[in-house]
């Protein structure tokens, strides 16, 4: 739900084409150029310092951390710490939590995309009674983030016996208007002639959907998938509420559970190894699908 500065998106994704003239008057050369790089590198250091420190902490031993200051360069306990985290963890093996996160993230991404594609298709390509009402019902959900209605939603899940289950993690988060609007917007731009031709040829609506609309939506689906995967993977509050069984914890909410209560010292190398593991899948998705990611961001905001 946002403004759609499409030309802006084009500018982001294709900066080179815009700057065809090599000697723009304003772009800096010489000392100014180096200052620009310096300024950016200082910013990058600020941004990467927390991640770097977490990585270093995940490669050293506990005694090196609890006797500050900890080293600022990686140690030689990398495999030991990561193996301990993945296989044993603190409450549950991190490998298991990663699997839970993966199921949840993929479930949310696929679920949202499928139900949104279907309902957008119905709303755009049919005139059926109640269409307006359905449209507004979906529209209203834009205004209800899960954080706002946690207690009653929790009760619904508890009544269905869906606590500590994948369906409980996934279903309450797959109903959102954003994806439906996105596909609706896109379907509106599909030339009418295509549907016309399909109808003249006697094609059934679902045939048109499968053979024409779906292939045309590929890029939109992929862009949305990137955003939704990260959204699902990074969920915190909802898994915190409904997964009381450590074997159902997701990795992002599981990290906090690894801190001991009271005055015990936390197992920092394992916790930091888990933090690094928690950011690897979404970082890979964002970096490897950068163009789709930026497109999805601009299209959907979230």
């Amino acid at each position: 739900m946002t403004a759609q500065p499409d030309p802006l998106a084009a500018a982001v994704t294709a900066p080179k084409g815009r700057r065809a003239q090599p000697d723009g008057m304003v772009e800096k050369r010489g000392a100014g150029l180096w200052l620009t790089h310096l300024g950016l590198i200082i910013g990058l250091l600020f941004i990467f310092f927390p991640i770097w420190l977490a990585f270093v902490a995940s490669t050293v031993s506990q005694p090196e951390i609890v006797k500050p200051p900890m080293p600022l360069l990686p140690g030689d306990h990398f495999f030991e710490n990561y193996r301990k985290a993945l296989v044993a963890g603190v409450n549950a093996p991190v490998a298991m939590m990663m699997l839970n996160s993966m199921v949840m993230a993929l479930g949310i991404a696929f679920g949202k995309i499928v139900i949104s594609l279907l309902s957008a298709f119905a709303i755009v390509y049919f005139k059926f009674p109640g269409r307006r009402v359905f449209f507004w019902l979906i529209f209203l959900t834009l205004m209800l983030p899960v954080e706002v209605r946690i207690v009653p939603t929790y009760e619904v899940i508890a009544n269905f016996g869906m606590l500590n289950s994948y369906s409980g993690l996934i279903f309450p988060l797959i109903a959102s208007a954003t994806a439906t609007f996105l596909f609706r917007q896109f379907f509106m731009t599909v030339p009418d002639e295509l549907a016309e031709a399909a109808r003249v040829d006697g094609a059934k609506p679902m045939r048109f959907f499968w053979d024409i609309l779906l292939p045309m939506s590929r890029t939109n689906i992929a862009a949305l998938f990137v955003i939704l995967f990260i959204y699902g993977w990074n969920q915190y509050l909802w898994p915190l509420l409904i997964t009381t069984d450590p074997s159902m914890n997701t990795i992002v909410m599981g990290i906090k559970q690894m801190f001991p209560s009271g005055d015990d010292v936390a197992d920092w190398p394992v916790i930091m190894a888990t933090s690094i593991l928690a950011m690897i899948p979404p970082v890979i998705v964002v970096i490897s699908m950068q163009k789709l990611f930026i497109r999805g961001l601009v299209d959907s905001e979230k």
Partner: protein, 300 residues
């Protein structure tokens, strides 16, 4: 979402009634069960107080709301949320604008910086919270230790202002990527001829930035202001929960955190439900504001 388009209709449509109903059914069922029913429940529960044994509910009308708005902790939470949101928005947008302006000056290599700067977007707020907590941990934190060497005794567990500073920086950090991408796009969309004309007239970088670039960037800036405030309101729960759990003395208890703390930790369902309803009103207002604003923006 341009509301002008909302009512646009296709000229060519398919026939049938049952098929489209079947197609919208999954979304409608999920929306009804997980959105409208819980929202209705929140409103309903906000009008009652459950007895201590949870056996019956006593009707109190707007009593829960009256109690909330006379409760100094709740009012303090409003102030905390306002300060927190404003600081997160200013810090993350400030840093992002600085980086975007620099990256925009580059002819080559801005793509590399962009790839690197996207990283924090992928880091969950809760994980960002753990990273910053680790640096500022009172016992093992590296930054805490070096501050100690400099003679500053950092302790966000006891000091409310330091706690606020830490959750603000951790929340803003994760948001820099998003703001950077939109600012960079906005900057690159400004016609270079305008800026070069000013340069020929002798305007130096700061003058150009103040008089041309920043005003032309204002649609992006306004958009980001709204989006960042919404983020600070609703998506920073993970940061607060991992770093401070709302403390010390509730100095970092933002509204969303309080709904959770009162509803799940304190088991005060009536109050929590009333708080949900207040938040609903705030989200509604922000959404409408955003729509109005975006509509205006489209007519530029």
């Amino acid at each position: 979402m341009r509301s002008g388009r909302i009512f646009m209709e296709k000229r060519v449509t398919f026939k049938g009634i049952w098929l489209p109903l079947l197609l919208v059914l999954p979304q409608i069922v999920i929306t009804a069960v997980f959105f409208f029913y819980p929202a209705g429940q929140a409103i309903y529960q906000s009008l009652f107080i459950p007895d201590p044994f949870g056996l019956s509910m006593q009707w109190v009308g707007l009593g829960n709301f009256a109690f909330l708005f006379s409760n100094s902790y709740y009012l303090a939470s409003f102030a905390t949320t306002a300060i927190f949101s404003i600081l997160v928005t200013l810090v993350s947008m400030g840093v992002a604008l600085y980086l975007a302006v620099l990256a925009d000056r580059l002819i080559k290599g801005s793509g590399v910086y962009r790839t690197l700067l996207i990283w924090p977007y992928a880091v969950a707020p809760a994980v960002a919270g753990v990273l910053w907590l680790f640096m500022f941990n009172t016992r093992v934190g590296v930054v805490t230790w070096y501050l100690g060497v400099l003679g500053y005794d950092w302790n966000h567990v006891l000091n409310g202002e330091e706690a606020m500073g830490l959750v603000v920086v951790a929340s803003a950090w994760g948001r820099i990527s998003y703001n950077f991408l939109f600012f960079l796009a906005g900057l690159q969309a400004i016609p270079k001829s305008v800026i070069e004309a000013a340069a020929i007239d002798g305007a130096r970088f700061w003058t150009r930035f103040r008089t041309i670039v920043f005003p032309m960037l204002s649609p992006t800036t306004f958009f980001l202001l709204v989006v960042n405030i919404v983020y600070a309101f609703f998506e920073t729960f993970g940061v607060i929960h991992t770093i401070t759990s709302g403390g010390p003395q509730q100095s970092t208890t933002i509204l969303v955190y309080k709904v959770y703390a009162d509803g799940f930790v304190g088991q005060d369902l009536g109050s929590s439900a009333a708080q949900s309803v207040v938040l609903l009103a705030i989200v509604g207002a922000l959404t409408i504001f955003q729509f109005k604003f975006i509509e205006r923006r489209v007519h530029y």
